[in-house]
Amino acid sequence: MRPYVREKTGFTFEEVPENTCFEAGYLTTVNSGWRSIRPVINAAKCVGCEQCYLYCPDGVIAIQGGKAVIDYDFCKGCGICAKICKIGAIEMEAERK
């Protein structure tokens, strides 16, 4: 389950809480800007074994329709999923933007 991400940019003074305590799962921005390489799933090879899902340190991999999918809004490009995949279904590709 992907958390809710606030769509609005910028904050008013009143929106910022008085202390560092706020509702859980409230993400103010997407967070993947420093990723230089991205994991790409080869759906034809992927068997949905969930190893990448278990190892992903940022929790951005889900299994949908028996295949791994990646939330690129939060993937930092660490490459652990590609390393852990025993059947070579994940490849790291350079970011082009």
Binding site: G10, F11, E18, N19, T20, C21, F22, E23, A24, T28
Partner: protein
């Protein structure tokens, strides 16, 4: 009410017992040790119902108190000198997280050379950490501040941790007769701590999170406003305290014979009593001497100090502190108050009491005569002066 013969440490411990903290975490360090020894005895004999946590360091002591406060508990810790410096990282976490922890700090010299006696360099070095800072003069005030501290820190307008400073040995280890309120009186003055700034299993929250450049400055501004709001909350709290307990306090400063004074010593802590006695003696000789005792360094009493000092011929700031390479930090703060008020009065800095060195009545009398005649800007008592005390 009962009356006992207590040291400053013991009086503070009695005040904390009356405040009913739920978690106490502390690591012993001279001259703070006795306050936490007494509290651990109270927990042991059942007269205080609290979780007493034996931690392995001061860093852990305050971290534990932060965790307890984040769980919604009223938390207490105490330290001194190097212990406070070891806590420094956590001081900022506690203030930024707006956790209204109360800490007693026994003001003591910092190494090197190693020294266990009293000066105020430990706490004054942490003025920027975002804590309320009070400086008690005697054991009764120490007990009363312990009880008032939680009311002030926990107020929804303030939500700021509170550091109650007691001069090491001179106050922490000196015995005085102290009035101790009853639990019934204390409970009517200080309600249990209630807050939304805590872990809540029914309503999950992010706690102590990060905030980037887009919002971080707003959190800092709000923390600043919270500390500033403490000034009016202190006044309200002292008024209600006087109604219940019959003892009156005077907010961020305490003035003595200042109304028509020509020469004033501004100071803080236990030395103020000797300054008042000296002022009385000089008044007997026709010299219009007065004393301003700073009770709170944060929030800083800018208006209060400027209102008194703007009409004098000269003032001295007497402090047990030196910011190496410049001057005493209290002097810097006092001068800024006058500058902001547009006042042009000659002020002089007197650094004394470092490492527990005695400040005598003769030293204080000399301060009054020195500022009347004009002297160097920054003076080390017992050594000499210069523009930077050199």
């Amino acid at each position: 009410m009962s009356r006992k013969f207590l040291s400053g440490n013991e009086a503070f411990a009695e005040g904390i017992r009356l405040a009913r903290p739920q978690v106490i975490s502390a690591y012993p360090i001279t001259p703070q040790t006795i306050v936490v020894e007494r509290l651990s005895e109270m927990v042991e004999d059942g007269s205080l119902s609290a979780e007493y946590v034996h931690v392995e360091s001061e860093h852990s002591a305050l971290s534990c108190a932060i965790g307890a406060s984040a769980a919604g508990a009223r938390a207490f810790t105490a330290t001194s000198s190097q212990g406070l410096l070891y806590m420094a990282e956590c001081l900022y976490y506690a203030a930024g997280g707006r956790f209204p922890i109360v800490m007693m700090n026994a003001d003591r010299s910092t190494a090197l050379p190693w020294n266990i006696y009293g000066d105020q360099r430990d706490s004054l070095s942490q003025l920027d950490s975002g804590w309320i800072q009070s400086y008690a003069e005697n054991a009764q005030e120490a007990l009363d501040l312990a009880l008032m501290s939680y009311r002030i820190a926990e107020d929804s307008r303030v939500q700021t941790p509170y550091m109650a400073n007691l001069d090491g040995f001179v106050l922490t280890h000196t015995y005085e007769t102290v009035d101790i309120p009853t639990h019934e009186q204390a409970d009517s003055f200080l309600p249990p701590y209630e807050t939304d700034n805590r872990i809540d299993f029914d309503n999950p929250k992010n706690m102590a999170f990060s905030a980037g450049p887009d919002t971080n400055y707003i959190f800092k501004y709000k923390a600043h406003k919270g500390l500033l709001a403490a000034a009016e909350v202190i006044t309200e709290t002292e008024k209600e305290f006087a109604d219940i307990f019959g003892r009156h306090y005077t907010g961020l400063t305490e003035n003595y014979r200042t109304d028509d004074a020509d020469y004033i010593i501004v100071t803080l802590g236990s030395i103020a009593g000797l300054c008042r006695e000296t002022a009385d003696k000089l008044r007997g000789q026709g010299i219009k001497a007065g004393v301003v005792r700073i009770r709170y360094m944060r929030p800083f009493p800018n208006e209060e100090i400027a209102a008194v000092l703007k009409n004098v011929k000269a003032y001295a700031v007497l402090e047990k502190d030196i910011s190496f390479g410049n001057e005493g930090t209290v002097f810097t703060n006092v001068n800024s108050a006058l500058k902001k008020a547009g006042a042009d009065v000659r002020g002089y800095n007197f650094i004394g009491g470092l490492g527990g060195r005695n400040i005598s009545a003769a030293d204080i009398e000399k301060i009054y005569t020195d500022i009347a005649n004009g002297t160097d800007a920054v003076n080390f008592i017992g050594i000499g002066g210069g523009n930077n005390g050199k």
